[in-house]
Structure formats: C-alpha cells, structure tokens
Symmetry: C2
Subunit: 459 residues, 2 copies
C-alpha cells in the first residue's frame, strides 16, 4: 500500500497545473443557486461535475432532478468487501455581489500570488475537486480505487438545501454507505490541519415592517407616523441585551452547556481574541463575555442581521418617510436547539414587542439543526492519520460556527456519520468579495485525500 | 380693475387645455437635481422656464450659472410706483424611485380622472405654472402687468438649495422686492385654501457604521463580531424614547413652546387624528402624546430615518455578516433651533453611545433653519382676499411640517418676507410614487393668482 500511496501522491504533485486548469473551468461557471437568472448555469455546472465523474471511470452517473436544482449522483462498487464512502459536495455558490469590491471578476478565476481568486474557489468547488483529483491520482497510478464510492453533489447548499431531505428519503437505500466524506469545512490555519466534529445549525428569516400606504414626505407627516425604518431598528435593537445575549423567548432553553472537557479543547485551539481581531479587522470583539471567542462562534447560538433595506439609499438625499423597512435575519444554532422552536420564539418576540403603530410580517426560510459527529469512528481516525502524514502534525479537532445542514440530515435520515474536513483557510473570504483558495494548502489537501482513501481501504 | 380681473379669469378658464399641455411638457423633463445623470435635463428644464418667461414678455431673462444647477432669473419693471413681487420657484424634482410602484411612467405625465400624474406635477412644476399662467391671462387681457416682477427659479431645492445663499448674497441688490411670492406649499384640502405662515427647517445626515474589513461568513464569525447592521439599529433605536421624543443632547433646548393662541389655531384646523390616519394609512398614529397631531407635524421637531442599507437585500438569502451599514437621517426643525447645533447634538449622541466594537462616520449635508412669516404684511392680506374670492371661504392659516429653506434665507440674506401658498393637496404623493396634481384645484389656483396680482397692484 505504501508504494501505491506514494505513486498516487507523486502523480498529484506532477499534475498540479492540470488540476488548477480544471478548477478554473469549474469556478468560471456562475452557479449561483439563489439567483433565478443563473438556472442555465446551474445545469451547466451539474453537467460539468457529472462529466468529471465519468472521466474518473465512475460507472453509474446520473443527474437527478429535484423541485429545485439537480443533484449529481455517482456510484462505483468495484471493491467488494471494502468500505463504502459517500462523497458529499455542492456545486452551487453564493452570490458575488457587491461586485465593485472584487479585484478580479468573480467568475473569471485568476491566480495572484499563492491564491486562486473566484467565487466558489474555496466554498466549495476547490474542495470537491480536491477529492476528485485525489481519486484521479489513485486511479491513474493503481488502475482502480481502494474503496467503494458513492457521490452526492447537490446544487442548493447555499440556499439551505431545501430539496435534500426529500432526496435522502427517496434514495435512502441507494445512498447507504459506511460514512459520508464531507469536505465542506476548512482549516484553522495553513499549518493546522483540522477535523470539524461539530457544526452549528441555522434558521433564516425575512422581517418586513410596513406603516404608511406609500412613501410619505417626511416634512408633511414626520411627527405623527412611526417611521418603519425606526420601528425596525427598535425591534432589532431589542433582540440582544447589553452583553450580546439574544433576548428571544426560550432562545437558550435547549442549549447544551459546554462541558469542562470541551472548554479545555476550545482553550487549546489557537483561536483567541488576537486571532479573531486579525481575521476580521474589527476594533474590538463583541459577544457573550463569559465565553471564549471560539466558544462563542463554535458552541453558542447567535442572531444576525444579514441585510437591511428601507427608503432612499442612493447618492444624495431624499426626504422620504419610507412606507416599508426590511431585514434579513438568521440564527446560528447549536446542538439540541430546534429550528422551528427558534422561529416560534422570534414570532413570539414580535407579537410581544411590535408596536400598534406599524404592521409586520415574518417569513421563515429553511432551517436545519446543529450536529456533532462521533470522533471515534474509523473514518475520522483514517482522516486524522492522513492529515498528519501530509502536514507532519496532529490535526486540531474543532466545532465550527458554520452550518452544513446535510450533516444533520445524513445522521437523522440515513443514519450515517460524516467525516468533515476541507482545505480552505479562515481568510478565504467565504460569502464575501475576493473569495480565494490558497493553492499550496489545496495541493497538500489533494495528497491528504490520497492518504485518506488508502487508509480507509486498508482499514 | 374688476373688469380686468374678470377678463383675465375668463381667459384662464378658456385656456385650461393649453395650460395643461404646457405643464405636461414641463413635467416630462426628468429634472432630478440629485441625480448626476440628469444634468442635461436640468439644463433643458432651465431653458424651458426661461423660454416661458420670454413668451410672457419678461424683458430681461438670464440663465445664471452656479457651482451646481443654474438659476433662471427674470425681471420686468414696467409698472413704476407699483410694488415689486419676487416670484420664487424651483424647476428640479425629487428622484422617481421606486419606479415599479408608479402606475404610469413618472416623466410621461398622464391625466387619470381629475388628476395629472407625474413626478413634479405638484412639487412644484404645477405651482410654478399656476403663477406663470395667471400672468399670461393678465398679459393677454390687459396688455401689461399690474405689478413689477422679478423671478428666481432655482434647480436645487430638492437637494437643500446649496447654491442659493451665495446667489442671494451676490445678487442682493438686483433681487430687492417688496416681498417674495413662494407657491411651494399646499392646501389642507380641495375646499380649504391655505396660507402657510410657518415652515420647519431641516438638517440631513448620512451615518455609516463599519465593523469587519469585509463582509464575513456569519457562521464562521457570528458571535464575536458586533454586526454593523445590529449596531446601527441599536444606535437608531436609542434616538427616541418610548413617547417618541428625540433623545439627542440639547435637541429641544431652543424650541419655542406653543402659545395658547397658537394651540387654539392648531385645534381649529381640520387636521385631527382621523385626518392623518386616512391620509397615511397607518394602523395608529405615533409621536409625542401631549401634542395635537398637527402640532407634532407643524410645531415640533422630529428625527427621521429616510433610508437604511446593509448587507444582502436581494431575493433569497445570503448568510453574510455585513461589513457596513448605512442610514440616511434627517431632522425637521422648528423656529429658533439651529441646524449646526442639532448636528453637534447628533455627533455628541454618537460619541456617547457608539460602542467600541464598531467604527462610525457621520456626514452632515445641508441644513436650514425653520421660519415664521409675518401674517400682517400686505402680501398676505392680498393673498387671503384672492383665495377667498375664488373659493368663497376664508383661508386657513397654518404652520407646515415641510421645509422651504429659501424662506429663511430670504429673511436673513435679503431682508424680505415671503407669502407662502400653493395648490397641491395632502394626497398628492409628494416625494413618493404616483405624485399627482388635482386639476380642478389647480385651475382655481390660477384664478386665485390672477386675483392676487390685481390685489397687489391695487394696494
């Protein structure tokens, strides 16, 4: 096995240029799942992934329709007696706006220094390709794969995977595997390979406040009308107390306290105040003072405003008293919190606090619970050894603030655990302008995936 | 004189169709002063007004440049021994957005029922044309004018008249007049001719909150970063107390209390709670409970949010933790309040309340103080008689919530009082979609201006 591993890693090192060219091709498809105008690009991206699987020699490849964007399914069962790995990924990306802040066009990927810039380079087209490139290196050097493989590459992760639960139920038998490999997470630093064993859940909303029947002249009516933008600000301001705690009814009721052991793990991670200050550029950190910064992000629920819009926002000034004001809100959830209960809490807060001077409407979008994986499963051990083999250091185990709904759904609907990793870095500008992928780390990641496949095949 | 008056009013009645055609031509020029793209249209609108003055036989007509949009000046001094009236107006209009809420294109004026719809139809192209049409009726029937005339039609009223103070100082001697006729106000109802003797001042701002150096992933950083949209909401929420009073330091220090007599005048106006509920469509009125609704609007200062923008505001959802949040703010001011002092109060509030977790920047745009005119001047009496002659009812005297900075500037820089009227109605949708002008009221207004000109000439 050692010889095959080394040959495959050598192949991966020799073919970096080709891997990069292919990744640029993938990133150049503007597969923005939330944008109706991108529907043809979504089909193009799905077809591109399916074609990649076919060139790997995956026998069965299907592009399966959903009520939203299609799911690419693949299957290779040529290693009887060996474990079956279900590779999860998503080919969709976040919107690229605000476009004017990008230094190169988001869908014209460009290498500058050690990084590849482009929307989706890190989240997660680069991660999907790290796995497929590792499989290519193994196939080209060994002629086969050391494990059985299934692939589920969806197109709706960035909009909350609305079609996935139904899909998982429908294809429950076909999707059975020993575990799921999910590379949609990242590393805490280029020299710190990381295994994520916990993910936060999410619940998203749009809150619309309306007052007057149309925009009014702020001089003629200002003083008797509760300005919807002011009313919205007042409602939002009441959602946190002075210590950054969320005030929604029952918000913390089901939160599992952080144990002494977990606290020790969090304290060991190099994610302290200085780290977050450097990563974000904020003048001072914020949040619940009794928790470590990485605990606030990894193990505490939050409520964020993701967007605000009201009245006149162009250049210059317009003395309008706006008819409406809108906020996009989301909550990140930790294990044991129920998204529907959180939505009910927000609605109850609004019923209690919205004044009679305005009207409000709350739309709840998709939600998913948080998840914690079993760190003792064989897949996690194989990954830990693989990362150590490439980086020469034991990986960090962390709980992450982001949400990968599919991990919770794989647990509840398929009964399988996920092995979560990824080779993105904290400064990759995920969901923001100038998203990038650190190429030296990515190349190491490909080799780590080679190690991982052989470790699993050998286990 | 009675004969000349009647002849001129008869002419005005006979030429309504032609007056309407001309007004539609004027309204169809998109002279949005705040929009840099409309600069050519601003020149076109100024030239259109100048041409109108020339066809009236105004001898001296100049389009005078400023650092912003040009001012149209006109002069006719052919009535020696008679009073001189300075006619003020503005040819610029508010932006038309949100365009999708208009039932007809804002710059393609359209008559539906008794109204002409189009941006600027009421504010104030219709009002400027009411005066010019009255002058045309007088000229065509008498061959001359009963008073000396000066015209100052500016192009920056909707952006706070930034070039006007310098212009008034520069042309101080040339602009001398017995009083200024300013038809940039309105009526409280189609059967209620109105003379406005008080106007609120204004001070406008843009407040920008910034936190992280770029938009962040709300999962990876949510919990340690003070969300700028939340911080902005918290700052805005603190600007009013539970009774709708503004909390900025010193905000009410210089406000002149409403006298018993003024309170009686406000109580007489048909502007009660039911009126404001019907006009605005809000579920309940808001504001300082110890004041009548029309007192809150006419004689109390306010703070409004005119616009809000942060993060992702498109269709769908984006789990961004925004780098910035912006609010457009404005204060309506009452007599004796100093705009600069109000700006200092807002700055002091922010210094006291902005948390160390964010950065803030406050930009103050133009401001102007409130004004109260002398209701006993001959111009006001001539207007009162004119309105009564046409409507058959004594006009209401009111203080209005809107701001006409030029009135205060005419007082302070030229030393002349303004006679303030206008033939718009409260439901004209000023500064909002579907702005309209009630044509039967406008036609009466033209006749009232005929009466007014003869009253002044006879005084």
């Amino acid at each position: 096995m050692t010889h095959s591993k080394q040959a495959a890693r050598e192949f991966a090192r020799q073919n970096r240029e080709q891997f990069l060219t292919q990744l640029k091709e993938f990133v150049s498809i503007p597969s923005v799942s939330t944008d109706p105008d991108c529907k043809p690009d979504m089909s193009r991206a799905a077809a591109w992934v399916a074609a990649q699987l076919k060139t790997l020699g995956i026998e069965k490849v299907d592009i399966l329709p959903t009520t939203g964007h299609p799911i690419v399914y693949g299957e290779w069962l040529g290693a009887p007696g060996k474990p079956t790995v279900l590779v999860y990924g998503h080919y969709d990306v976040q919107p690229a706006d605000p476009l004017e802040l990008w230094h190169s066009a988001p869908f014209s990927p460009e290498v500058r220094g050690e990084n590849l810039y482009g929307r989706g380079a890190s989240d997660m087209k680069g991660q999907v390709m790290a796995v497929l490139n590792a499989l290519r290196a193994v196939k080209e050097t060994s002629g086969s794969f050391p494990v059985n493989l299934k692939f589920l590459i969806e197109g709706e992760e960035e909009i909350g995977s609305p079609s996935l639960p139904k899909f998982l139920e429908q294809y429950r038998n076909q999707l059975q595997a020993d575990f799921c490999l999910n590379p949609d997470s990242g590393m805490i630093g280029a020299e710190h390979p990381t295994i994520t064993y916990g993910l936060r859940g999410i619940m998203t909303f749009e809150l619309r406040i309306s007052g007057p029947k149309s925009d009014l002249h702020s001089g003629i009516y200002g003083g008797v009308v509760h300005n919807p933008a002011v009313a919205l600000a007042e409602l939002i301001a009441g959602m946190h107390d002075a210590n950054g705690r969320v005030t929604l009814p029952g918000f913390y009721d089901d939160v599992v306290p952080i144990s002494e052991a977990e606290h020790a793990d969090f304290a060991r991670l190099p994610l302290d105040e200085a780290y977050y200050l450097a990563q974000t550029g904020v003048p001072a950190l914020w949040g619940e003072p009794e928790y470590l910064p990485d605990e606030r992000v990894g193990a505490r629920p939050t409520l964020e405003v993701n967007g605000l819009l009201s009245g006149f926002t162009g250049t210059g000034f317009k003395t309008v008293l706006p008819a409406q004001a809108m906020a996009k809100l989301s909550c990140r959830l930790v294990p044991n919190q129920n998204p529907a209960k959180i939505a009910a809490g927000l609605r109850q807060y609004l019923e209690q606090h919205a004044p009679p001077t305005i009207r409000w409407e709350l739309q709840a979008f998709g939600g998913s619970p948080a998840s914690i994986s079993d760190v003792n499963q064989p897949g996690v051990k194989a990954l830990s050894q693989a990362l150590e083999a490439v980086w020469g250091t034991r990986p960090f185990f962390k709980r992450e603030g982001g949400s990968v709904p599919v991990v919770a759904q794989m647990q509840s609907l398929l009964g399988i655990e996920s092995v979560i990793t990824g080779f993105g870095l904290p400064d990759d500008n995920l969901h923001a302008p100038n998203e990038k992928l650190h190429l030296p780390t990515w190349y190491r990641g490909i080799e780590a995936m080679v190690e991982f496949l052989f470790n699993i095949g050998h286990s």
